[in-house]
């Protein structure tokens, strides 16, 4: 199959859905509060609605940036510790594995009690959600550093610190990057979920606010933005990782 044929086939399903949507809302008897016309969703991206949406989007993104960076730092540090040290693993692993079983959403009520509905609780949710993606992948990557490479490090009498930064970390880097990629996706989901449940700003809040006013066009417009931002973040990170780990053969970051 040629490249353009694949793209065409991939686009055919969204086009069909869009057509069905347009037909149903134009010729069918569906109230606009339930399902708006495609063109009214599109209209949200222009004029005043757009600047409001953009404002909320930026607030959500800023929360993701803060939460994700904090979660990444914690995840890489703790994953590295448990990856190289059996003592650290024995101390941390059972507790962290137990905590990991609690769904991210189930933390929201407690975090609201602790931190209110402001920024702190949003960032805490993101950290909780993204930390485990980064932690688990970092731990596995570091722990599975090939013994062969560690033997080379021992042969040349590298210090523990230099072995970590020169062998463990680069060896685990592809898997750490995978963890970061997953973590960023989860961060985005977490922030939207927490804003939907309780917030006074952010794209999730904007959606639940629009629902109260029966503005299904805004709700759908927000959903599309959330999906597109998710794809954009994932792609940006994959491109960035290609620059960070250039020794990987092509296609390794997909």
């Amino acid at each position: 199959m040629k490249h353009w044929q694949k793209i065409l086939l991939g686009l055919s399903l969204p086009a069909a859905i869009l057509l069905a949507w347009w037909l149903a809302t134009t010729y069918g008897d569906i109230p606009p509060q339930i399902l708006p016309k495609p063109q009214s969703v599109l209209a949200v991206y222009g004029g005043e609605d757009a600047s409001v949406l953009l404002g909320h989007l930026l607030i959500s993104l800023w929360r993701v940036v803060q939460g994700f960076l904090l979660a990444s730092l914690l995840g890489v540090v703790f994953g590295s510790l448990t990856g190289v040290s059996r003592v650290a693993k024995s101390i941390l692993m059972p507790t962290l594995t137990a905590i990991r079983q609690i769904p991210m959403i189930a933390w929201i009520p407690l975090l609201i009690l602790w931190c209110g509905i402001g920024e702190a609780s949003k960032i805490a949710i993101i950290v909780l959600a993204a930390f485990f993606c980064v932690f688990v992948n970092t731990h596995a990557g570091i722990a599975e550093t090939p013994e062969n490479f560690l033997e080379v490090a021992r042969l040349y009498r590298l210090s523990k610190l230099r072995t970590f930064f020169g062998v463990h970390l680069p060896s685990a880097l592809p898997q750490i990057l995978t963890g970061l990629q997953l973590g960023l996706g989860v961060s985005w989901m977490a922030v939207v979920a927490s804003e939907l449940i309780s917030a006074t700003s952010g794209i999730g809040y904007h959606m639940s606010d629009a629902r109260v006013f029966m503005r299904s066009d805004i709700v759908i417009a927000c959903m599309l933005v959330i999906g597109l931002v998710g794809i954009a973040m994932n792609t940006a990170l994959a491109l960035l990782f290609g620059l960070i780990a250039p020794w990987k053969p092509k296609g390794a970051h997909k």
Binding site: N148, F149, E151, V152, R154, L155, Y156, R157, G166, V167, P170, S171, L173, A245, P246, W247, P249
Partner: protein, 253 residues
């Protein structure tokens, strides 16, 4: 560097059971000598090499390098592994300079020198995955030599290579040995290689690994693989591995 191995025993412990790997190994390697150790897989020859390098613990007995007991790896002892073990995240020149502790400029200079020695100057900036098997092994040999070790241990370094590349690299190792004057200990399962390279060939038996015989190869014999003397030595070594007459290679003179 001289190496002395005395009454060496090595056992691995699996589920509390001791499995003998090496049994009563005694060997003296002279300064500047080229020793080859030949044996079947599983005879513990790689373990022996790792113990000389200080990468593997000694169960009983002792190994002395220049008269001093081996307790840990030392900077004057290099090793080349069967799998090249180049670090995939370092460019070839950084891999070659990996063991060096000196300024960056000096490290690059030494790495460039050794890449030239193994004919890889054009690939200094390549990633290891871009090299062919033979080229990667050359780079690994360059890394082993870059620290200018007085003792170089080679663990089946050509085992994974095609026959032509293998012969080419064997010649290069001989040339490097003559040029550097380092002591070389090479482990192999290839009898031709053992005779071609070694001044003495150590024949090992398997399970537990023991030295069957140490065979000195007179100068000139190894150089001509087609010669009658070469075939005689080969036959002599083969006898250790194929006790029954039929499976032995026959030479009609």
């Amino acid at each position: 560097m001289s190496v002395a191995i005395r009454n060496l025993n090595k056992r691995f412990f699996v589920d509390g059971n001791a499995i003998p790997v090496l049994n009563n190994i005694n060997l003296e390697v002279r300064q500047g000598e080229f020793i080859t150790i030949v044996g079947q897989s599983g005879c513990g020859k790689s373990t022996l090499l790792k113990m000389i390098a200080g990468l593997e613990s000694i169960t009983e007995g002792e190994i002395l390098r220049n008269g001093k007991p081996v307790t840990a790896p030392g900077t004057d002892c290099g090793m080349v592994f069967q799998d090249h073990r180049l670090l995939p995240w370092l460019r070839v020149k950084r891999n070659v300079g990996f063991g060096l502790r000196c300024s960056k400029a000096e490290r690059e200079h030494i790495a460039a020198q050794h890449l030239q020695l193994v004919g890889l100057s054009d690939f200094a900036n390549a990633w290891p995955h871009q090299l062919s098997g033979g080229m990667a092994q050359r780079a690994a040999i360059a890394r082993g030599l870059a620290t200018n070790p007085a003792l170089l241990l080679l663990d089946e370094p050509f085992g994974a290579l095609d026959a032509l590349t293998r012969i080419q690299l064997q010649r290069e190792v001989l040339r490097i040995w003559h040029a550097s004057g380092a002591t070389m200990v090479l482990v192999t399962h290839d009898i031709d290689e053992a005779i071609f390279l070694g001044e003495r060939v150590v024949v090992m038996s398997a399970r537990p690994g023991e030295i069957s015989e140490v065979i000195p190869i007179p100068p000139g014999v190894g150089a001509d693989r087609g010669s009658l003397d070469f075939a005689r030595y080969k036959d002599r070594i083969l006898k250790y591995f194929f006790a029954d007459e039929k499976s032995r290679e026959e030479y009609n003179i």
